[in-house]
């Protein structure tokens, strides 16, 4: 292949080495442990990176410098913050349901970690290509709302409860249009497997060759994704000026950090899913039959393509956050039930017609 040191090559080498030295069962267990460790390390690094990115992006938008003291150009600021959070005491309020209170931050992290499974980071570099990949992602993503409700209710705090109830109403509503937007794309690809969806974009990404329905689906998916991750302008669950910190008001130290981290991981995940569905995941930018052009594009490693697209979309979501005011709870639900859901259903119908008549490339 083009890249000798690709993720795919490393994966294959490790697999071969394990199978050569250990039995197949032991090798499989070792692989699982290795993947688990990788996911945790990846999460930690991603969290640090995204928090730093958010702070820098907000600084640019707000005509200020952002963190620039700890480490070169402030790169170690988020690590220092994490260290501080680790050293802080994780308080459990009196009168809280201790079991649920302590479980909630882990549940939200576990949900975020599980979604990683079918996401393809590079060519043939995926934990497990489940044949119902997209369905799996949207179903696991729903678990996080349970964690948020759990956190809000068990804190024994009215602000937290209000935040959690808002979040519950919001996530459940917006999952509908996010789901319909995903189904619209599945209609085109005719497969739920992430690998198939990416490979179907071999000669052009769906955003370009999927006609108008794909663009509408993309816009709706991005709006719904922002809402699902509880980020501004849909950050009602933790609306600072209304509910102090919403569902995680009572959390401190590392337990708070887990919620914080999960928010950023969820942002990464929804952007990764959007990149896969609409921008071809790790698939380089290909134009139909332009062999030469496509070949040049292939020289850029697939992991760069994937991460590049994902981070562009993350930037978009951060841009939303630092630009828009927050909606009110009834306006938020109006937007979903009166506008987004009907539009996405009509869009689905339109896409069905296009697919049936085979109008796509």
């Amino acid at each position: 292949m083009l890249n000798t040191i690709s993720f795919e090559a490393i994966k294959t080498a490790v697999q071969q080495w394990l199978n050569m030295h250990w039995g197949p069962h032991l090798a499989f267990i070792a692989e699982c442990i290795l993947i688990g460790l990788l996911v945790i390390v990846f999460f930690a690094l991603l969290g640090l990176l995204l928090v730093f990115m958010e702070r820098k992006v907000s600084a640019v938008m707000q005509i200020r410098l952002g963190p620039n003291r700890v480490g070169p150009k402030g790169w170690l600021q988020t690590s220092a913050d994490t260290l501080k959070l680790m050293l802080k005491e994780g308080l459990t309020p009196d009168g809280a349901d201790k079991f649920l209170f302590n479980l909630a931050p882990f549940l939200i992290m576990i949900a975020a970690m599980l979604i990683m499974v079918p996401i393809a980071f590079a060519r043939n570099f995926q934990i497990w290509d489940i044949n119902i990949g997209v369905l799996y992602i949207s179903s696991i993503a729903s678990i996080s709302v349970i964690a948020i409700l759990m956190a809000g209710w068990s804190s024994n705090n009215k602000y937290a409860l209000l935040g959690a109830m808002r979040s519950g109403a919001q996530i459940i509503s917006y999952e509908l249009s996010a789901g319909v937007a995903v189904i619209t794309m599945v209609m085109l690809t005719q497969s739920l497997s992430i690998q198939d969806i990416i490979l179907s974009q071999q000669n052009g990404w769906w955003i370009f060759k999927g006609h108008i329905p794909a663009i509408i689906a993309f816009v709706i998916f991005m709006i719904a994704a922002t809402a699902e991750t509880n980020r501004a302008p849909f950050d009602l669950a933790e609306a600072e000026s209304e509910l102090t910190a919403g569902f995680h008001t009572e959390y401190s130290g590392m337990k708070f950090a887990l919620f914080f981290l999960a928010e950023y991981i969820n942002v990464f995940i929804v952007c990764a899913v959007a990149a896969i569905l609409f921008f071809g995941g790790w698939m380089p930018f290909h134009i139909g039959n332009w062999e030469g052009f496509n070949h040049i594009m292939d020289y850029i490693p697939s992991s760069i393509w994937f991460l590049g697209k994902t981070f562009c979309l993350i930037f978009l979501i951060m841009w939303f956050r630092w630009t828009f005011p927050r909606l009110r709870i009834d306006q938020l639900l109006n937007l979903e039930w009166k506008y987004l859901l009907p539009i996405s259903l009509a869009n689905l119908l339109l896409m069905t017609i296009i697919v049936v008549l085979k109008w796509y490339l």
Partner: protein, 371 residues
């Protein structure tokens, strides 16, 4: 589970917003009765930053007590000082030199701009947009620098004294103000582009926190809050003081009475402040900046009242003198207190999100309410 979230069978419960809460911009404490997200009743609890300023003034001389008033509405420090100075001058029957009057009015309007700047940023922050705050502070910083150059301080300026101003303006003052004003007009357009025109923002503000004209009058509201409900109450226009009688400016009145109207009144007031400064800055007459007064001021026996328009509304200073060197009794009529009293009327029946959108447009400064 324990005594979790006590509520009545109908689901009515109370929450305490404040004394420490991001939306109250200070130590205001609101006890809110809620049904789900709908507000049934709001009870403001005051007194967390009460410093007995009125009582303190009784033991300070007429020169000294003005400095304490900078700490009331700290965003309108100049205007508070101005009110006190005018009241004392009324008692002494001192003629203030024209130069001092011009400087005072320019300073008042710069203060109003700075105050509205901060309000605009905080208002946007209340409805969830963080970025405008930094844009507002960029301009506010310039005003603070101009103030610092002439007055020697950035927040509690203590520049106005009975009979005029404490010191002459800095040689660069006029040039710097003109430079600032020239650039500032574009800034207002930028604010409108950033926030006013935003659909989400308008949805949050329009029809929210309605205050009728009758209620505005009966609660004693003043300033932009009352003017947004159609009450013509600009003291600068109705009871002009210093050179306000000679400058051209419009009294901004809206009739919608909702949060968006209050927002628009303040934004358009900024334009009027710019207009006032433009008229005065080039024409500051030569002469004394302070009238000749005795070292120890003594007000004749009697009662004196003076009102001014601060950035928040009408500030009244009431002095009772027994003829000594210190006032016998001082009472301040602060705009924030009356405006806050109408909050229950405005936010009742709305959502929690509406409450912050309403409270933001009241432009509350808690030390002004408590004194």
């Amino acid at each position: 589970m324990h005594q979790v979230l006590s509520s009545t069978p109908e689901g009515i419960f109370t929450i305490n917003v404040g004394p420490q809460h991001p939306a109250t911009h200070g130590v205001l404490h609101l006890v809110i009765t809620l049904n789900g997200e709908t507000i049934l009743k709001i009870e403001p609890h005051l007194g967390y930053i009460h410093r007995s300023i009125e009582k303190m003034c009784e033991s300070l001389t007429y020169r000294q007590f003005i400095y304490v008033t900078s700490r009331m509405d700290y965003l309108s420090a100049h205007i508070n000082n101005h009110a006190c100075a005018l009241c004392v001058e009324k008692g002494l029957q001192v003629e203030v030199p024209m130069r001092a009057q011009y400087i005072r009015v320019i300073m008042d309007e710069l203060t109003r701009l700075a105050s509205h700047e901060l309000w605009w940023g905080a208002m946007a922050m209340d409805v969830g947009a963080f970025t405008p705050f930094f844009y507002a502070f960029r301009e506010r910083e310039t005003i603070n620098e101009i103030m610092e150059e002439t007055c020697g301080a950035r927040l509690t300026m203590n520049y106005m004294v009975p009979g005029g101003v404490m010191a002459d303006i800095h040689p660069q003052f006029q040039q710097k103000v003109k430079q600032f004003i020239a650039g500032y007009k574009n800034k207002i357009a930028e604010y409108n582009e950033l926030v006013t025109g935003n659909v989400i923002f308008q949805n949050r503000m329009k029809g929210v926190g309605y205050l009728s004209t009758e209620d505005a009058i009966s609660y004693g509201c003043s300033g932009p809050v009352a003017r947004a409900s159609g009450v013509a109450c600009d003291v600068r226009k109705r009871y002009p003081y210093d050179v306000y009688a000679q400058v051209q400016f419009d009294e901004i009145i809206e009739t919608a009475g909702d949060s968006f109207a209050r927002y628009l009144v303040r934004i358009r007031e900024m334009e009027q402040s710019v207009r006032i400064i433009e008229q005065l800055i080039d024409n500051i007459p030569e002469g004394d900046y302070q009238a000749k007064t005795k070292a120890v001021l003594k007000l004749p026996k009697g009662e004196f009242y003076q009102r001014v328009e601060t950035a928040r509304g009408e500030l009244g200073v009431y002095i009772v003198s027994e003829g000594g060197t210190t006032p016998y009794r001082i009472k301040f009529r602060s705009p924030g207190f009356s405006n806050l009293s109408a909050l229950n009327e405005m936010a009742k029946g709305g959502k929690i999100g509406d409450l912050v959108a309403t409270m933001g447009t009241l432009d509350l400064v808690i030390p002004d309410i408590d004194r």
